[in-house]
């Protein structure tokens, strides 16, 4: 493999990162509800893509690989955090205070999203934010189209039932309703 060829691939990867980084961050933010966690998630995802770029770039749709990596990294991180939270007594006092502030700063919508199970939240974000088809989401999450449909429906229903979001789902223009 020539050095020129490697440099070409790296330049291609740089272009990809610069083009897709913002969109990935927005999705990661809706998945995590926290800018710092979102940045970590995107960095992990793109680092994986970099390591596999030789294969990823030849795929018909590199975005699908990257999206799957993002979802998998998110779910892995959620599992790790859950394990840590089983031992709350070992967490530093300072961290608890920081977390409270972070929650207080969250929007009503993000707080409602945080109430959804991780898989359901991923379906809602991929379907209704990224506007992916049910088939595409099923492919990304490795589940059936029927499962995606039911999860999307249940997720949406839960958001609708949230009293804090009632104004979002009544029949007035959204822009007026979301003013806080």
């Amino acid at each position: 493999m020539s050095a020129d060829h490697n440099r070409g691939q790296e330049a291609e990867f740089r272009d990809y990162v610069l083009a897709r980084r913002g969109a990935l961050m927005r999705t990661a933010y809706l998945l995590t509800g926290d800018p710092g966690q979102a940045e970590d998630l995107v960095q992990t995802t793109l680092a994986k893509a970099y390591a596999a770029w030789r294969r990823v770039r030849t795929r018909e749709n590199p975005d699908a690989y990257v999206a799957r990596a993002l979802i998998n990294a998110h779910i892995s991180e959620r599992r790790r955090r859950r394990v840590r939270e089983w031992f709350p007594g070992t967490l530093p006092d300072q961290a608890a205070a920081d977390r409270t502030d972070a929650v207080a700063d969250r929007s009503v919508l993000l707080a409602a999203l945080a109430g959804l199970p991780p898989g359901q939240r991923a379906v809602v974000v991929l379907r209704f934010w990224e506007d992916r088809s049910e088939t595409a989401v099923a492919d990304l999450l490795g589940c059936s189209v029927g499962s995606v449909r039911s999860q999307a429906w249940r997720g949406l229903a839960k958001l609708r039932q949230n009293p804090e979001l009632s104004r979002l789902f009544d029949r007035e223009p959204v822009t007026e309703r979301m003013e806080r």
Binding site: G22, A47, K48, Y50, L91, P92
Partner: protein, 278 residues
């Protein structure tokens, strides 16, 4: 209005609300440099995993250094041993580098960068691609003179062909919690060892209301390391780490870091006797 219309209207509203939510500062994403660094590290580790070890030399030259215990059970770091400089792969195995050492319950432990040669694939996605030799360094834990984490090592870090250190960036220190256990798998505690940029002058570990400070030391391979050791009965199982440069400016931080060696899941509490190295 049909149910389908309702759903469609709701999803439109939700999409608009999402758009509002993400229209905020602070979502620029990681820097390209950070991505390339993290990706490069991942690639090197993966290549190492694909490689085949064909020359492992025991670190017999590493002498265990007992250090005066602090509070009876805690450990302090030894001054980094004056191991000889790593050598070119063509010329032999680089000498092991002692990172830190201590004593827990009368058992001497020592953390060592232990080099081995691996065959790296020029194309990890193609098993038939040509390979080439390169050095890889494991974080090896020696307890009472025996290497006890050989089956559960921290990620092997590939060094450059001269065996010298690849610089760690100032804002992305690397952390390895390593169990301190003997050959019978009896645990004495954990060491949290970190590899930092030489510009890092101070590391502070915060665990509940306990705070520990240490100064990274530059080893003979040019890398800079620090370590905190926690006895098994310590209540410090996780916490934060903050990194400062010589001017006192915080250059990096890590929150919710585990201070427990990775092969341990069960925590058994105990009294708050943790004392980190200083």
């Amino acid at each position: 209005m049909t149910m389908h219309d309702d759903t469609s209207a709701d999803t439109d509203r939700l999409r608009e609300a999402f758009a509002e939510e993400v229209d905020r500062p602070g979502l620029g994403g990681p820097s390209l440099d950070a991505v390339l660094r993290a990706g490069g590290g991942r690639l090197r580790m993966r290549r190492a995993a694909y490689g085949t070890t064909f020359a492992v030399t025991a670190a017999a030259a590493v002498a265990v250094t007992s250090i005066a215990a602090h509070g009876g059970t805690a450990a302090r770091p030894a001054a980094l041993a004056a191991a000889s400089s790593p050598t070119d792969p063509e010329g032999g195995t680089p000498a092991p580098v002692v990172l830190t050492a201590g004593d827990l319950d009368g058992h001497a432990w020592q953390l060592v960068w232990k080099f081995r040669q691996v065959q790296l694939s020029s194309d990890p996605s193609n098993e038939q691609s040509p390979t080439y030799p390169e050095w890889c360094a494991d974080v090896a834990m020696y307890v009472d003179g025996a290497w006890t984490n050989s089956d559960n090592r921290a990620p092997c870090t590939v060094r450059d062909p001269s065996g010298h250190h690849l610089a760690t960036s100032l804002d992305h220190p690397m952390i390895y919690p390593v169990p301190i256990l003997d050959t019978q798998r009896h645990r004495y505690g954990s060491a949290v060892v970190g590899e930092v940029n030489q510009g890092t002058a101070k590391v502070v570990a915060q665990c509940g209301d306990q705070q520990f400070t240490t100064t990274p030391r530059v080893a003979t391979n040019g890398a800079s390391y620090f370590a905190f050791a926690f006895p098994e009965n310590s209540t410090c199982k996780s916490g934060s780490l903050k990194f400062y440069d010589a001017s006192g400016r915080q250059v990096a931080s890590k929150d919710d870091e585990s201070f427990v060696g990775i092969d341990t899941i069960l925590f058994d509490g105990g009294t708050p006797t943790a004392t980190a190295t200083d």
